[in-house]
Amino acid sequence: MKKLAKSPWLLHYDASSCNGCDIEVLACTTPKYDIERFGIINTGDPFQADILLITGGVNSQCEQVVKQLYEQMPNPKVVVAVGICACTGGVFKDCYNIKGGIDTVIPVDVYVPGCAARPQAIIDGVVKALEILEEKRQGYREHAGKGES
């Protein structure tokens, strides 16, 4: 991983999951796993977040909320789908009101499998997301540079 220039902030949302992956996401921020060492802070405010950690298979009720959160986040942003039910619907795939995966609603950059996803896997996913975030930032900078000239 390249050197990090910024401290990315993280937003977590539960889009119809079973809670299993949510408490693992929270466990990642606590002393044993400590993703805060990458300069990450768990914020509750979408307007200040760079990374969206999202769990669950998305039902019809929370679909709007997910879209709204995604739109409220400033560019560039990355989305990490945590847990197999966020990736594909997983165990809830056959349920009558599950859309099946976050990518049916918003674009996803990193998929973290597992039911429940282990903290190590989540950290791995976040680190991947940091790289993608840096790339996207680069893209924006170049884009902005062209605009000026």
């Binding site: 977590h12 949302y13 539960d14 889009a15 119809s16 999951s17 079973c18 809670n19 299993g20 992956c21 949510d22 408490i23 693992e24 929270l26 466990a27 606590t30 002393p31 044993k32 914020t43 509750g44 405010d45 979408p46 669950g56 298979g57 039902n59 009720q61 929370c62 909320v65 959160l69 165990v91 809830f92 056959d94 349920c95 009558y96 009101n97 599950i98 039911c115 429940a116 282990r118 903290p119």
Partner: protein
């Protein structure tokens, strides 16, 4: 009369790990009414029972909720076992008890951490969750999973613990008991914490009974009721005294949960000392026919499981009444008259589990 205004609370909120939405009707800073709207985590798991094999459904039942996952598997298995007249071997009953109590320790520590976080006491949150990792390590060693275990099956359990493992568990409990002390002191003695919790959201014993509160919520109002006394799994052979507190406020609820962690350590120790040798599961043949209700004590209170089976491999109806469902009416009652700033804390003191409630 002061002007009324409505403040939306949730579904995405920093304090809540799970989405729930409340419309708070305010008069100045005081809440006069709270109107909940739910459904953000509804997946329709009860319906899934019609299309999944009844043995396979154990895995779905465990994913009703990731915090009380073991209990849901247990409740479902017990109900089906009763319908099919399956006699679960004693060793399996003891193993279930040990895992159930370990779940309680993990769930209560998780709650303590969230409570500290809701008060803005970040270091206490970190300490509680750090301690919780110890019990998760034991889960990892005995079942292979940290939050979802999948060790229950109809007719017993899938994994055994040897003597060395039982000893490791009791040792971990002893160690955790020591490390819990400074955390408990911070919650119960610290002036700042006390000033946030004392006298907040008082629920009298009559009210609690009337509104159908369950679990630590009910016991904190002075009612000594604990479903474990019914003696399912191996609880009939263990010594157990419900933990109660008299005040019925948020502080009492915190105190009850901290004491229950100690009680769980004690139950694990008793069970590890008494556990008999023998098989851990019996083979189950045929399909269930009939219906049955069971009740078990989840970390959050009494949960009710109902199964109606029709003699095929698919079950007709599975119904689950979770503790949070019964704790929401008293919570809405408590919210009336409180300050807006106390709302997140009050919601947390019932230890809400939305994922269970909405399934």
């Amino acid at each position: 009369m002061a002007k009324r205004s409505i403040v939306p609370f949730g579904p995405q909120h920093p304090v809540l790990p799970e989405p729930v939405h409340l419309d708070l009707v305010l008069e100045d800073e005081v809440v006069v009414e709270a109107v909940p709207s739910i459904g953000f985590v509804h997946r329709g798991l009860e319906k899934l029972v019609e299309t999944k094999d009844f043995k396979e459904y154990v895995y779905i039942a465990e994913r009703v909720c990731g915090i009380c996952s073991f209990g849901h598997g247990l409740g479902y298995c017990q109900t089906v076992e009763k319908i099919m007249n399956v006699e679960v071997p004693p060793r399996a009953r003891y193993l279930r008890t040990i895992w159930m109590e370990m779940s309680r320790v993990h769930s209560h520590l998780l709650w303590l951490g969230l409570l500290a976080d809701a008060m803005g006491f970040e270091s206490l949150f970190m300490e509680s969750w750090k301690l919780r990792e110890k019990i998760l390590d034991m889960f990892d060693a005995t079942t292979g999973g940290r939050v979802i275990f999948s060790v229950n099956c109809i007719g017993g359990v899938l994994k055994d613990m040897d003597d060395a493992m039982l000893k490791a568990i009791t040792d971990t409990c002893a160690e955790m008991e020591k490390e819990l002390k400074p955390i408990a002191r911070a919650f119960l003695r610290d002036l700042t914490v006390g000033s946030r919790l004392h006298g907040l959201g008082v629920l009298s014993a009559e009210q609690a009974n009337l509104m159908g509160a369950v679990g630590p919520m009910l016991r904190a109002s002075g009612v000594a009721y604990d479903t474990r006394l019914l003696g399912y799994a191996a609880y009939d052979e263990l010594e157990l005294e419900p933990v109660t507190a008299a005040e019925g406020d948020s502080f009492a609820r915190c105190e009850v949960r901290i004491k229950e962690i100690g009680q769980s350590f004690d139950l694990i120790r008793q069970a590890a000392a008494k556990i008999p040798a023998g098989p851990i599961a019996v083979p189950v043949k045929g399909f269930p026919q009939g219906e049955y209700f069971t009740r078990i004590e989840q970390p959050r209170g009494e949960a009710i499981y109902y199964v109606k089976a029709n003699g095929t491999k698919f079950i007709d109806r599975f119904r689950l009444r979770t503790p949070t469902t019964s704790n929401i009416p008293p919570m809405l009652d408590m919210l009336k008259g409180c300050q807006l700033a106390d709302v997140p804390l009050l919601i947390l003191t019932i230890d809400p589990c939305i994922s269970c409630t909405e399934r």
